[in-house]
């Protein structure tokens, strides 16, 4: 089951045009999205170049399977193409919007297929891969971002890390995670919330 109306998908777009963003930054993505909404395929391709690595990366991480991650990547960008006129930037950034769609579609697949045990075993790792397998030198940005996330995850308590892993990376609901860990649902909620708050602060989000 997929929710199509939420705090990311529907509603009128904001008339506000003020704001900033560097090259490839938040603002230029918003401009690309507006041009895409006007049917500009070149802008859509540019938007794809900016965000496809992250969309595919998180889908692959959650689903483990490359082919499924590619399908999710296609679904996500088609949804972006279809609904981008309804993006509301007062609710968050373009990457947050696109990656929310991507993560939701990936976990929807996980839940509908209900978890082959090998996939779960493979998803058990928490840290981003330390060594990229790509032949080309990894972009400085990505390498550092990976390192930063790894360190910030390392700063969580074991139980917070587990809550983040089971929900965000594995695609469990909080309730499934609570059942698995044999702790009350409220405990998992608290751990996830505290873990996300700590990650938010560690990663410098919203300062």
């Amino acid at each position: 089951m997929r929710r199509t109306v939420g705090w990311d998908a529907g509603e009128a777009s904001s008339p506000e045009e003020a704001g900033g963003g560097g090259p490839g930054g938040v603002d230029s993505l918003a401009r690309l999205l507006r041009r895409t909404a006007a049917g500009d395929l070149a802008a859509f391709e540019e938007l794809y170049r900016e965000l496809s690595g992250t969309v595919f990366g998180i889908a692959r991480r959650v689903l483990v399977d490359e082919a499924q991650a590619e399908e999710v990547c296609q679904e996500v960008f088609l949804e972006v193409w279809r609904t981008c006129a309804r993006f509301d930037r007062s609710r968050g950034t373009v990457p947050a919007w696109v990656l929310t769609i991507a993560h939701r579609r990936a976990v929807d697949r996980v839940r509908s297929e209900q978890a082959a045990s090998d996939r779960l075993a493979a998803a058990g790792r928490l840290e981003p891969e330390a060594t990229p397998r790509d032949a080309v030198p990894d972009q400085v940005e990505h390498r550092l971002e990976r390192e930063r996330v790894r360190r910030c995850l390392g700063g969580l308590t074991e139980t917070q890390r587990e809550a983040v892993r089971l929900t965000y990376y594995t695609g469990y609901t909080q309730r499934q995670a609570a059942d698995l860990l044999r702790v009350p649902l409220t405990t998992v909620k608290g751990r996830l919330r505290d873990g996300l708050i700590r990650l938010r602060d560690c990663l410098g989000v919203g300062v």
Partner: protein, 244 residues
């Protein structure tokens, strides 16, 4: 309303970890709670960072498939504003930093600068340079004594990975104004012996700047100033600093 219940719902909603009924309750609550919407935006931005750490380029065929499907897919028009619906004009969930600085014109200039700089060296040289740079970075991150410091740098936000063993530091800055044409950001080491050049910062993705500062020694501070793009022997622009 506040406390673990509501915020737990927001956190769970942000990472798609709610049952359908809970998700509906969360959406109803979010409509009423401005603080929760702010939390939601922050949590989602946090999730973007987690996802960025997983970045991996899909095969080229993926874009071909999307392009083909897009050509056959009608785009939805913007939703008309519903009369009487509270638009909450004061609500802004954009992170502050996106409004820090007047980027708008500067962004285009920076892109031109990058292209020009890139065309001056051959592709091979650039690849070698990149590979060398990547190797240096790997060595730095792998060094046992590498320390991560996050600190404000002027109005921007700096992350420094520094290792005495490697005698180098990697600086990434988020939120710096784009350097005007012909200008660039230069790093400096400052200690009791004075100030010495430490290399240039280069624009990288998402409007960030990054650079490797070598010959670190035992500095008190890492500074950054805006200089002519070929670099200066000593700082001429206004200096911003991070304590080391």
């Amino acid at each position: 309303m506040s406390g673990a219940g509501v915020h737990g719902l927001t956190a769970g909603y942000a990472v798609n970890a709610l049952d359908p009924e809970e998700a509906e309750a969360a959406e109803r609550h979010l409509a009423e709670c401005e603080d929760c919407r702010r939390d939601l935006a922050d949590f989602r931005e946090t999730a973007v960072r987690l996802a960025e750490a997983e970045t991996r380029e899909p095969r080229p065929e993926v874009w071909e498939g999307i392009r083909g499907a897009a050509l056959r897919t009608r785009q939805l028009p913007p939703l008309a504003e519903e009369p009487g619906r509270a638009r909450g004009g004061a609500v802004r969930l954009l992170p502050e930093r996106t409004r820090w600085l007047p980027w708008l014109v500067a962004a285009a200039c920076a892109l031109v600068a990058v292209v020009l700089a890139g065309s001056l060296v051959s592709v091979n040289q650039r690849m070698d340079e990149e590979a060398r740079h990547a190797a240096e970075m790997e060595a730095l991150l792998a060094a046992p004594d590498t320390n991560m410091v996050e600190a404000p740098l002027g109005d921007a936000r700096a992350t420094v990975f520094a290792s005495y063993e490697e005698d180098a530091a990697m600086l990434v800055v988020e939120g710096l104004p784009t350097a005007p044409p012909g200008m660039a950001y230069q790093m400096w080491w400052a200690d009791e012996g004075g100030v010495r050049p430490a290399g240039m910062l280069k624009p990288s993705s998402n409007g960030r700047y990054s650079g490797m500062a070598e010959n670190m020694g035992k500095p008190d501070e890492l500074r950054v100033s805006l200089e002519p793009e070929e670099g200066s022997p000593e700082p001429t622009g206004e200096e911003m600093s991070v304590d080391m």
